[in-house]
């Protein structure tokens, strides 16, 4: 694990947890048909929090964060993002989606558009930003993720790590208040994992509210201010990273940690 961690020290000056609530999930349940995937989820995320969600596969962690921007529909309970409740109202959904950025395991860049077009598409069509301004913003964020020179290439010409960083830049171009990461490094080679994690750390240093489903425990230790462990669709344990890793309370957490940290 340690070789994937950033060598540099993390600048924690802006990493402060605010008092205003970014996401509030209340007694939320979700079923796939008759299968109960998410069971009574209660979670409050303050602005500026960096939360890592971990758990065995099939535990519902991806489904949970996909519910937050309504890629999945929940059947009971409530989800309030930035003061807007997620209902069937399309206006609310579009509003929330334009404020919540998301990165996927398989990047999901648009292969028929160049990197720059990938980044400017949503600002131009959703935010109605003038093209020139959108391109300047896009170049700003592409510089931030350290690939401005690839702006006119197509996603297929980039490495996996570069593609994931473009995906992060694409989300940032919408100037989101919250970023969701759905296993952003699971499809990457070890070298590339580091470059993506570095980008995510930089993002955290700027005070972005982040929810991150990941198995990178080094990242969790360094960056997260809270780690959530899920199993069988429910939140089993959550704690500050130090406490969570050194002193897990539940047996299931202990078993999980021994399996992923044991080798």
């Amino acid at each position: 694990m340690s070789e994937l961690m950033s060598e540099r020290d993390i600048d924690r000056s802006k990493m402060q947890v605010g008092s205003d609530i970014a996401i509030e999930i209340n007694a939320m349940n979700k079923w796939y048909g008759t299968f109960h995937v998410l069971r009574d989820i209660n979670l409050t995320v303050n602005s500026g929090e960096r939360i890592v969600i971990c758990g065995p596969s099939g535990s519902g962690k991806s489904t949970l964060i996909r519910c937050i921007n309504r890629l999945e529909e929940h059947q009971s309970g409530s989800i309030v993002v930035d003061g807007t409740e997620l209902t069937n109202d399309l206006k609310n959904i579009d509003k929330i989606r334009s404020e919540v950025g998301m990165c996927f395991q398989h990047f999901n860049l648009f292969p028929h558009l160049t990197i720059l077009e990938n980044c400017t598409l949503a600002p131009i069509w959703v935010r109605k930003t003038p093209k020139k301004e959108a391109e300047e913003t896009a170049m700003h964020y592409l510089e931030k993720v350290k690939i401005p020179d690839q702006a006119h290439k197509y996603p297929g010409q980039l490495s996996g790590g570069q593609q994931q960083r473009v995906a992060i830049a694409r989300s940032l171009c919408m100037k989101p208040r919250i970023m969701l990461f759905d296993e952003p490094t699971s499809a990457l080679d070890p070298e590339m994992i580091k470059e993506v994690l570095d980008t995510m750390i930089e993002l955290a240093e700027e005070g972005m509210t982040m929810l991150c489903v990941t198995h990178e425990m080094g990242f969790a230790r360094q960056v997260a201010n809270r780690v959530i462990f899920m199993d069988e669709g429910q939140i089993v344990e959550q704690n500050e990273p130090e406490e969570f890793f050194n002193n897990p309370k539940s047996d299931r957490t202990k078993l999980f940690l021994s399996q992923i940290l044991g080798h």
Binding site: N108, P111, L121, A122, W125, Y154, G156
Partner: protein, 432 residues
């Protein structure tokens, strides 16, 4: 040192090996022949047999082609000129050239009108087919259907003008109202268009066409290859957008829209085109108001378009299904609304995947336009089977006429196929 290295696994390159040319027998024509025609004994035998078959075909057809007669005015004269030798009677093509291209009723003095329309069609299609051309040319493309109608059918210019005006007004209404609600904009546009068409139609005097600048030509006077081209171009360009709408409708979450699309597609696809054409020629007037006389050309266009759009819808559905689910999710997650996501993300990729299938349908549709000969329209095949072969001069000239028809269709279809391959290469951005 060297003794040691033979026993050791360690190895270090001593320098860069300079590049050198390949051996002579690995380049040029010799290599090509050896690799492609004579790579082993069975392949060599196949090559020789194939060459022999090609030789036989040419040996039997070339005298017929080269010895062809081009200048006589009947089959009997051809036979006299040939005097027992083998030879084609191509005179039928030169003598009936105009009939093959324009049908036998289109006024001879007005041939320039369809010719001009064809020329304009190339200009109008260019910015659609080759999207590197300036976008402003699309204005001409938008005007072209009305211009072509006026050129080919003639009559008063007010008919196409009012038709165009209806679309312009509908577009403006849609622009104004669709910001509030898509449904109000859409239905408002439809109503506005019909108001303009009905009101404008009532204003045109009955006699307007009699002394028009371009004399009026009724649809039943159209014919020849011109008719095939007109039907093909109209139906392909109409069925593609309708096919897209049907494919998206079939994927809709709204059950009513979904089932209307499914039933339409399954019904139209399950019926032979020829029966639809008979419906068009005989029965379709039952569906229109009693006193209205809907043009036969229009009725045939409706039927062929319905038929082709059902096929295109299924081809595009395949393209939509082939897209990874992540593309839909990514489009959703950056906040694009459904129409935007479809137009900017999903359809460009789905249509790209569907190009071979769409071209397949387009080529098939174009060839199927010859079926209108069965409902007594005189397209190219109708002309050949009817007026030309039935005439006393040319009774019995099958090979030359049908070969010519095949050649014309082949040229167009091969062109479509080559264009689609260029398009696929041009759109390839995945760098696999």
């Amino acid at each position: 040192m060297s003794d040691q290295s033979t026993n050791s696994v360690a190895f270090v390159a001593e320098g860069t090996i300079p590049p050198s040319p390949p051996p002579a027998r690995e380049t040029g024509a010799v290599k090509w022949l050896r690799e492609n025609l004579f790579s082993n004994i069975p392949n060599s035998i196949l090559t020789i047999v194939s060459l022999y078959v090609i030789f036989l075909v040419l040996k039997n057809t070339m005298p017929w082609m080269l010895n062809g007669v081009w200048t006589t005015s009947s089959l009997a004269q051809c036979r006299e000129v040939l005097n027992g030798e083998t030879g084609a009677c191509f005179s039928v093509l030169t003598e009936r050239w105009n009939q093959l291209l324009y049908g036998f009723k289109y006024p001879v003095d007005e041939y320039w009108r369809p010719n001009l329309a064809l020329l304009f069609m190339i200009v109008a299609a260019a910015p659609v087919l080759f999207f590197d051309l300036p976008r402003k040319l699309l204005i001409f493309t938008a005007i072209y259907p009305f211009l072509a109608y006026w050129l080919i059918w003639g009559g008063t210019i007010f008919v196409p003008l009012i038709a165009l005006l209806g679309f312009v007004v509908a577009g403006m209404v849609f622009q104004t109202f669709s910001k509030g609600s898509f449904a109000i904009g859409f239905f408002g546009a439809v109503i506005a268009a019909f108001v303009v068409w009905l009101g404008g139609g009532a204003l045109i005097p009955e006699s307007a066409s009699e002394n028009a600048f371009l004399s009026s030509v009724p649809s039943r006077d159209l014919g020849g290859f011109m008719l095939n081209l007109m039907l093909g171009a109209t139906c392909v360009s109409l069925s593609l957008p309708i096919g897209i709408v049907l494919a998206l409708g079939r994927q809709s979450d709204m059950p009513l829209i979904k089932w209307v699309c499914v039933i339409f597609i399954e019904f139209v696809r399950g019926v032979p085109l020829i029966t639809l054409l008979f419906v068009a020629s005989v029965m379709l007037s039952y569906f229109f108001p009693p006193e209205s006389t809907v043009d036969l050309f229009l009725r045939v266009v409706i039927m062929i378009t319905m038929f082709a759009s059902a096929y295109i819808a299924e081809v595009i559905r395949g393209g939509l299904a082939a897209l990874p689910k992540g593309q839909y999710e990514a489009a959703d997650s950056i906040g694009l609304a459904y129409p935007q996501a479809m137009r900017l993300i999903i359809l460009p990729q789905a249509l790209k995947i569907s190009i071979p299938g769409i071209v397949n349908v387009a080529v098939g549709l174009f060839k199927d336009t010859t079926l209108v000969s069965v409902i007594s329209m005189f397209d190219l095949v109708g002309m050949i089977r009817g007026p030309i072969l039935a005439s006393t001069e040319w009774n019995g000239v099958y090979w030359e006429l049908l070969g010519f028809a095949a050649l014309l269709f082949f040229i167009v279809c091969y062109g479509i196929s080559q264009y689609s391959q260029w398009l696929e290469r041009r759109l390839a951005t995945d760098h696999r």
